[in-house]
Subunit: 299 residues, 2 copies
């Protein structure tokens, strides 16, 4: 089989590729050759190592999104400024390659002047969400290492805001003094709710709330599962506190990994909001497919 085109999601830590046929995904491959570990001349070999089995005699279009298009990536795809549609065929950047069997394009990210903000990869998921729900107007939340909130209106990203929530959780739970009280697995919904409520009601006290996790582990037998879940609740809580202008009184649609989206949905439900969920990979593929269709039209 030779795919019509190849979809690529190339982030800092991972490289994922899909062989796309007329009816959807023909094959999928992934590696940990993320942007973060590759020098400029290692991108094309890393891609070919994954997709070579799918290539035929002709030229196969490859459309990629994510950090691969950053200044430290394979080839820079300059940010487009909001307000604008999340993806636009005119913004695609053609990457010079050695192998004649592929024609590689990278989708650019978005930037916002004030408050300063950037995204790379999420714009494709947003475009996918709009492809899956063409009439969508409202608020999208993309939980993750760097969570994004975006206001969508008339097919455009009007504004967006990034939160370090996932990265803070990883650093604090794995590398800070708090890690001593969080070893092992497990989860505690009630502790998550407590952390969420504490942070949402008094976000100004976050600096004091974090160390109590360590202290309660030492002198009040706080379990590792409860400590980890409460940390998650605290961090999602300060995200929700700061993102209140986005979600207050608005329907919210979550795009992301299932478990994390469930935590956000639980947190929003505690604020009286019923969030809808869209799977991240489906959105990424729908977004890249919207570019592939435009490219074919433009040929």
């Amino acid at each position: 089989m030779t795919p019509d085109w190849i979809a690529v999601d190339w982030g800092t830590s991972n490289l994922r590729a899909w062989a796309m046929g007329p009816t959807g995904v023909l094959a999928h491959a992934a590696s940990d050759d993320g942007m973060g570990r590759l020098a400029r001349d290692q991108f094309e070999p890393a891609l070919l190592a994954l997709i070579a089995p799918w290539l035929g005699q002709g030229v196969t279009p490859v459309i990629a999104c994510g950090m691969v298009g950053s200044r430290q990536g394979w080839f820079e795809a300059p940010y487009r400024a909001v307000p604008c549609a999340p993806l636009d065929h005119g913004g695609l950047v053609r990457v010079p390659v050695q192998d004649p069997r592929i024609a590689v394009h990278i989708a650019p990210g978005l930037k916002q002047a004030r408050p300063a903000d950037v995204m790379r990869g999420e714009e494709t998921q947003i475009a996918g969400a709009l492809a899956l729900r063409p009439a969508f107007d409202g608020v999208l939340c993309l939980p993750g290492t760097h969570s994004k909130w975006a206001q969508i209106s008339a097919g455009e990203v009007v504004s967006f805001q990034t939160y370090l929530t996932g990265e803070l959780f990883a650093l604090l739970s794995q590398q800070s003094v708090l890690r001593h009280g969080m070893a092992g697995g497990g989860w505690d919904d009630a502790a998550f709710d407590t952390g969420l409520s504490d942070a949402l009601s008094r976000p100004d006290r976050i600096g004091a709330l974090l160390f109590t996790l360590r202290a309660e582990g030492l002198i009040a037998d706080l379990s590792p599962a409860a400590a980890r879940a409460r940390l998650s609740g605290l961090l999602i809580g300060i995200e929700l506190a700061a993102a209140k202008p986005y979600w207050l009184g608005q329907p919210v649609t979550l795009i992301g990994a299932d478990a994390l989206c469930q935590s956000y949905a639980r947190a929003l439900a505690a604020q009286g909001l019923s969030a809808q969920l869209l799977p991240a990979t489906e959105c990424t593929l729908a977004g890249l497919a919207s570019l592939a269709r435009t490219s074919e039209t433009a040929r």
Copy 2:
């Protein structure tokens, strides 16, 4: 020379010892044999490697404070509960040793039931501050990896609160995505003031304020020096926001490393407070000396 006694400050990362004579410090030695890298049977050799040159024929008393007395340390010195004097001779724990030339005691830390909190090492600096200023009543702030605020009244620690400020700064500036915009040295007082003001006026927005450092580096030419100083201002700002019940309308005395204390003094000055400064090592030695004096009296 043989010292009257030996003062030891033994934290997670460092071991510091002072040979003490009738008029003060005779000699000083330090190593990176912190509590964090030692197994239980490695503490005595690590200590002797540092102080052996100071030992004579008789038994030299050694008085230690810090994480060496934690459950993961050399020998556990159980926390004393506030409200109480920061140090008390009765709380000293005698450590069993092999070498007959030393008699080692560890000073216990303090715990607070609600809000749960703990300290190990800072209680000795607080005791030292009270020894240096016997009539002190008011608020002490000990900036550091885990900053402490303590309310002192009638020679007792009434309450205290810990903030992860220093550890958050290290993790975010060295290991998070923000590190990319903070390489190299330099500092920017105006950027520190901006971060401080942003965080103090809207601490609930801290989740959103952090990523702007990265975004402004990418699209608005924020310099590494300004990014690092603004991060420091943001983190000290949310500490001050949460610690407001401690400092509002109170004279504050800072105990700690000079540069860090200067940042806190600048931050407090922006709130209209004139903070006094006490050097950390002087306080540690005065605190341990107060125990050494009591020990001699008790002999």
